[in-house]
Symmetry: C2
Subunit: 456 residues, 2 copies
């Protein structure tokens, strides 16, 4: 099979060190340490399209103290640790290219406190966003970040996730007040107090958000909550062209209309969603929108029935699966870029031309209110020539976004899939600064190595 991104070599690993670490971990964690091939492979790649890179073992901690012990044991033996939430990341963040121990936080899933007056809550990292919102609903509160997948909150923070609601509510960086993080030396660092704002020293919270486990393992989060909107109106709107849809979006946002989310689907994605989610949308570029109002608010022309809205947004959230269903059995590589919104129409249109020339099946959808869009490339992984065309399309997509002052990833993160583009995006001084920070906080390189920045 041809691979899209070559897995790193595991050469040079010290088998004796891993054996010694696993022996100690077994003594400490008993059957919560698992080394079966199937569980290791389940943790070796998930929705990503990077080839499977299983860890040497998976451990299921139940507390921050457990995570400290795991990290301390692994640090003693120089063995990598890889935090694992639900495995819904897309760029190989949870794979183990250098082996080591996957720390699966699924059992650390408690809500530790809800402070309704302060609009915040304290949780463990393994709870998923749907479970958290279920817990909060009775109090009229919710956590607004919604990446589609029912991801763990720890993983969402680690990836600086955003999703459909970012237009109104921002991304994870805007909705986390504080983190507790186990550092490479096994100590627990608290990044901030529960106050709504602070000017007290370096912003360690934001440094950890988006660091994908390469600087530490998140073991607790204090999240900023929002009131459930009083009124929500959703609607869909067909447009003659992607450009028309983008221009309408720019106007909408400039007018200050309280839009929560605006999603763009190109013709092919509408077709895929019609097939997969049994909708009957006209197969032209389409905008899904949602206005959420907490106070006052003008007249809405859109549909507001909850059932209808749910069906619409479920279809949107299933877009990844609908894309896969376009070519059953094919390889799927979901990638994203983000550009200034003024360049979005141009970027999407040029990408559509490029897809046509590449002779690939690759629908586009996007969080058009942020200038962020996704390309789901499907291809036959047995066909080296088709894989090569997909790789080239991906390269050109990133280059196009960067040329428009955009970023190589708006929300999927770097993982292994986007490492090659960081220098082109950020320049050498910024990349050197990232490396210096990585070295400063993880001098032995045991925290999720082989992701974001390489120290080699």
């Amino acid at each position: 099979m041809v691979t899209f991104i070559e897995p790193s070599s595991r050469a040079g690993r010290d088998a004796g060190a891993i054996e010694a670490a696993l022996a100690e971990l077994t003594r400490a964690f008993g059957n919560r340490l698992v080394t079966s091939q199937i569980v290791r492979e389940q943790h070796g790649n998930t929705l990503t399209w990077v080839a499977n890179q299983p860890p040497d073992a998976v451990v299921f901690p139940q507390s921050a103290a457990d995570v400290q012990e795991i990290v301390r044991i692994c640090a003693t033996h120089g063995v990598p640790v890889i935090p694992f939430g639900t495995g819904s990341s897309l760029e190989g963040q949870v794979n183990a290219p250098h082996g080591g121990v996957s720390i699966d936080v699924r059992d650390m899933n408690r809500v530790l406190a809800v402070h309704a007056e302060d609009l915040d809550c304290v949780i463990e990292p393994g709870i998923t966003r749907k479970a958290l919102n279920e817990h909060l609903r009775d109090q009229g509160l919710f956590f607004p970040i919604d990446p589609g997948a029912d991801a763990s909150l720890g993983g969402m923070a680690a990836t600086r996730c955003s999703g459909t609601n970012a237009v109104r509510y921002g991304t994870m960086k805007d909705n986390v007040l504080s983190l507790k993080v186990v550092l490479a030396n096994g100590e627990i660092m608290t990044t901030a107090r529960r106050a709504k704002k602070s000017s007290s020293g370096y912003d360690l919270t934001r440094l950890m958000i988006g660091s994908e486990g390469t600087l530490g393992v998140i073991v607790e989060l204090t999240l900023r909550l929002s009131g459930i909107p009083e009124a929500i109106a959703s609607g869909i709107c067909p447009f003659p062209s992607v450009e028309a849809a983008c221009n309408a979006t720019i106007l909408t946002i400039q007018s200050g209309i309280p839009v929560a989310r605006i999603e763009l689907l190109d013709e092919l994605q509408v077709k895929a969603s019609n097939a997969y989610s049994r909708l009957r949308l006209p197969e032209t570029p389409m905008r899904f929108g949602e206005i959420a109002v907490e106070f006052g608010g003008g007249p809405f022309e859109w549909a507001t029935q909850a059932e209808e809205r749910t069906k619409l947004w479920q279809a949107r959230h299933d877009a990844y699966w609908s894309g896969r269903a376009l070519r059953p059995g094919a390889g799927v590589f979901a990638t994203d870029v983000c550009v200034p919104i003024s360049r979005l129409a141009e970027c999407v249109t040029a990408t559509q031309r490029d897809i046509a020339e590449s002779r690939l099946v690759a629908p586009i959808m996007g969080h058009v209110g942020d200038g962020n869009f996704h390309l789901t490339m499907t291809f036959d992984m047995a066909d080296a020539e088709e894989v090569a065309r997909a790789k080239a399309l991906h390269e050109r997509l990133v280059a196009r976004a960067l040329a428009m002052d955009g970023t190589c990833t708006g929300e999927h993160g770097v993982g292994q899939g986007k490492m090659a583009y960081l220098e082109a995006e950020h320049g050498r001084p910024a990349l050197d600064a990232m490396r210096a920070i990585k070295r400063a906080l993880d001098p032995d390189g045991i925290m999720n190595p082989g992701k974001i920045v390489s120290l080699a």
Copy 2:
């Protein structure tokens, strides 16, 4: 004269190194390098109450390349550099406790680009917020962060400033898309692209925001802009007690009313503002509020005339000066803390009791929507016993805020004034992480040394 915070010793400085650096700087910058006593002292303390600590020279760069040259020359000789905006910071951030060269960016004040479609602009660091908003007004846009003082945007980013509008618009961390920063090695780092969001690597933008020049000198900012609200209503509301005012605020925010700012003034501050700003407000705890609506919006009962609003907010912005005017000639020490909003009433009330017991004249005002409040302590600097009482009051204020899961500074920053409290607030692992980052990015300790974290 007694000092509130002892200036660091300048012992151990290498006079030869400074002389050599100044000679090189003079060759490069001619009369844009100033060493007169008066200019050095103007840059040695401003609104802060830390004793004057003049730099050895002040230089006025006109470009990012100028700043690079200054930093390179100073780095060669191991001489500190201290970025300087308008000097309105309050915790000794721009003082030169270890001497060195103050980099005054007042001449780097151009608007480089306004991208109205993308709601952003690119500016130099020396432009002030009023000048920027003047420039933007014709396009219906504004930059919402408003600390009261007409500060430079570079300084506002360096201090992670927030101010009255933070309830609605967030702080500097939420409104800066990207920075260009001259690092200790003289290289220019760009922290991010102009895309609205990104998951591409460590969040260098947020790391620089609030770092007070200790990691680099900001030479360019890309700011997120907002539409000027269609409708603004301001109002004042007297309350029988601080607690009643705080509780009303909690309810207001929970209801999702689109409040832009809610300010609390205690009885003494109302009295001070009445005297200084010629108002006739009843002298009870008072809330200033402002609702800003960009779209739709309910009926307002408050005053909406621009003239009235301006007078009100000018009085609020002049609160620092009105506090000073309570005791002409006295020392003034303005400090701030921030606590979870559910603890605010308790914190303010306990602080008022403490002030009474301390026999000091010290009005309180606050950004009550954020849980952030200010204490303006006035005292006779010649009276060692009164200074000691003020110091003790300050210590207890910070301890009280920390005990309530708050922060030692919501928006003034650390500078020199709050360094002593960082370990109590953040714990040793977080402080060690800050030190490791400082060492990683500024190994020779030339970037604004003696602020935030000490490496000694």
